[in-house]
């Protein structure tokens, strides 16, 4: 069972949701998204109400970086490449998004618009797909060239983590910096140990569980506010793209923006996760419980995801 939640800091419900769904036993906790504050997990464990251990992925990588400068340098070089690639993607994205938005807002000529809008959206999706492929290529090249998982400094931590996860019943992934979080989840091979375990994740943690991660903010202080596809996530929740803090970060009352996001991320369902929202996905990939979470639709509306309980997310349903 996988449980995705909205932000937990001010009104945590993680403990009550876990109990409600019969999750007990030991927890392995990931707070790497909190970066230097990773170890400040007292409130999290108090809210969770389960015994467990913090995997300390952020701290572990700092230690690897200190003891294996070669791996650290190669890792940093890859991160620099990814940043440079993202800047190029941004430049291209600005143009295709402006075109798609303009056509969505246009009213005539009616008989021609539909095909042009579809083509403009295809261009956005093609660029997003291209970017994800390029990101994946950079990761693959890094792994081929550096073979990070053969470095003893990293191997030792991966082995320790594997041992901890054997004894864990549930993996809990908190939010924070989604890039750092995803990076550490990958470096330490967390996804390899998840079959048979429950996962509870929120905010950036929920984003990382999805197949695709979208970064978004409709009203940033700088720039046009074009959402970006960032990377592939762990792929634990097919068909959903998690949008935490959606009510604050998105202009959900603007149909053009909602429609753009929905069409762009189709066939996945962009799904809002605000405070106290809950989405529970069963082992068969079907939605078991939904509270609060909503889905952005291609027609510009935002509708309760609860309407899809019993279905597998994704596609047109």
């Amino acid at each position: 069972m996988i449980i995705l939640l909205g932000p937990q800091r001010l009104a945590p419900i993680v403990g009550e949701v876990a109990r409600e769904h019969g999750i007990h036993g030991r927890a392995a906790v990931v707070t790497a998204g909190w970066q230097e504050r990773e170890a400040e997990d007292e409130e999290l464990f108090a809210a969770l109400g389960l015994p467990g251990v913090n995997l300390q992925l952020y701290h572990r990588w700092e230690e690897v970086a200190r003891t294996d400068p070669t791996l650290f340098a190669a890792h940093r070089e890859r991160q620099d490449q990814l940043r440079a690639l993202e800047e190029l993607y941004d430049k291209r994205l600005a143009h295709v998004m402006a075109a798609a938005r303009e056509l969505l807002e246009a009213e005539e000529p009616v008989e021609l618009l539909q095909a042009e809008r579809a083509s403009a959206m295809d261009a956005v999706r093609a660029l997003d797909d291209h970017h994800l492929r390029r990101v994946a290529d950079i990761h693959a090249a890094f792994e081929d060239r550096v073979r990070p998982f053969e470095h003893p400094a990293l191997l030792r931590h991966r082995a320790e983590i594997a041992e901890v996860l054997v004894g864990a019943d549930v993996l809990v992934i908190a939010g924070g910096h989604v890039g750092v979080l995803l990076n550490r989840l990958r470096l330490f091979g967390i996804a390899d140990h998840l079959p048979g375990k429950h996962v509870i994740a929120w905010s950036a943690g929920a984003m990382a569980c999805c197949e695709r991660i979208a970064l978004f903010h409709d009203s940033p202080p700088q720039g046009a506010g074009n959402a970006e596809v960032f990377e592939h996530g762990l792929g634990l929740v097919p068909g959903v793209v998690a949008l935490p803090h959606a009510s604050r970060r998105l202009r959900l009352g603007e149909p053009v923006r909602v429609s753009l996001m929905a069409q762009r991320l189709a066939p996945d369902w962009p799904t809002t996760f605000d405070v106290r929202d809950v989405v529970v996905i069963g082992d068969d990939g079907r939605l078991v419980t939904v509270r609060g979470a909503r889905r952005l639709r291609a027609d510009g509306t935002v509708t309760p995801l609860a309407d899809a309980v019993g279905l597998r997310p994704g596609g047109e349903a």
Binding site: L10, G33, E36, M207, F216, P221, Q222, E228
Partner: protein, 378 residues
């Protein structure tokens, strides 16, 4: 004249009870589209609006509704305008500048408080008011001595929430730091913008001037104080990034002049400038007309324009369209760009006041200190 007032006056001279009901039923001033109607009630020889909008006639006479104690005057203001004003009530030949008793909205500054008229389209930014979600930073006070002024000077230091000695932070030096905190909600703004990831966590040194009109326009004691006393103190005491790109000078009005003059006299030390309604008066020929306080300002800005060098690499400037300084600030933009400074400029329909400067902080700070907004989902 506003529709509401026309309705009141449509039946001829309104009775006292009708005026009472009119005042009870509306918020003042009356804003209808681009037109604002100010109302005052009482006995006076004359009543005038003092609105501090540079481009308009500085005083506008109220008209008395014949046979009543109700006065009104109108002003056309573009959408999104925000102005500060007082009402000048003349009684017995004496002028009494008062805040609008019918309007509870006001803004404070070092000289007192003004009434505020916000037109359609102006909204107080949500990041300027306390947010329960935002963690609060902390303040520390230090007295620095010796200083080039021959006396100890106080500096207040803002540390971001969850400050850690093991991290490194960029530095913002704020002129008139106390005023920014009191009148422009700077601490709330910093807490909110850092919490939201719009601005990276930073350390702020808030300076407190002696006589700012003397010290700010390129007084070598002040420039030396900032670069050779304050900066070394901050670097010794706090974990700061050791390069110019991570140091920004900020100030409003004469504080903008002070920021530029520090950067000009110490090129390569400060990478960024955040200059709000800078008093950048200059002359191409002849004398300026701004009074003796501006003499050292004009000397400095003229010298800077003559020999600018490259005092910083990035500059954010803002200015209100209703300030006399708008022209100088506009002219500064191509000048700074021409000497290779990446420059961003923002205009607002507002005047030379602290809430205007407050409202531009998000844009300026997020440009100079971009935070991890796009990556942060807590």
């Amino acid at each position: 004249m506003s529709r509401a007032l026309r309705v009141l006056l449509a039946g001829g001279r309104p009775r006292k009870a009708q005026i009472d009901a009119f005042l009870e039923a509306h918020e003042f001033p009356l804003v209808e589209g681009n037109h604002v109607t100010f109302i005052w009630r009482g006995q006076a020889e004359a009543v005038r609006l003092r609105h501090f909008v540079y481009a308009l006639q500085t005083e506008v006479n109220f008209q008395r509704v014949a046979g009543t104690d109700l006065w009104h005057c109108g002003l056309d203001l573009p959408r999104g305008s925000r102005i500060e004003y007082k009402i000048d009530v003349v009684r017995g030949g004496k002028h009494h500048w008062i805040r609008d008793p019918l309007n509870s909205r006001m803004a404070t500054d070092p000289f007192g408080a003004n009434s505020v008229c916000a037109c359609d389209g102006y909204v107080v930014p949500d990041w300027t008011v306390p947010d329960a979600e935002a963690r609060a930073g902390t303040l520390e006070e230090h007295w620095l001595e010796p200083t080039p002024f021959g006396e100890a000077r106080k500096v207040t230091v803002y540390l971001p929430a969850r400050f850690r000695q093991s991290r490194r932070y960029p530095l913002l030096v704020v002129h008139d730091g106390g005023d920014y905190m009191r009148f422009a909600a700077l601490q709330t703004v910093l807490d909110n913008l850092i919490h939201r990831g719009e601005v990276q966590p930073l350390i702020v040194a808030l300076s407190h001037p002696g006589d700012r009109l003397v010290e700010y326009p390129d007084d070598p004691r002040h420039t030396s104080f900032v670069a050779e006393t304050l900066l070394p103190f901050m670097e010794a005491r706090y974990p700061l990034w050791p390069d110019a790109a991570a140091r920004v000078l900020m100030g409003a009005s004469f504080g903008g002049v002070a920021s530029l003059s520090v950067a000009w006299r110490y090129p390569g030390v400060f990478g960024g400038l955040l200059l709000q309604s800078g008093s950048f008066a200059f002359t191409d020929i002849g004398q300026h007309q701004r009074g003796p306080a501006f003499d050292p300002v004009v000397r400095f800005v003229n010298a800077f324009r003559e020999n600018p060098g490259k005092p910083a690499t990035r500059a954010y400037l803002s200015c209100g369209q209703y300030e006399s300084l708008i022209y100088e600030n506009r002219s500064m933009v191509p000048f700074l760009q021409g000497i290779g400074i990446e420059t961003k400029f923002s205009e607002s329909r507002d005047g030379h006041n602290w809430e205007n400067w407050r409202d531009r902080l998000q844009e300026g700070l997020s440009w100079l200190f971009p935070g991890p907004l796009w990556m942060l989902y807590e």
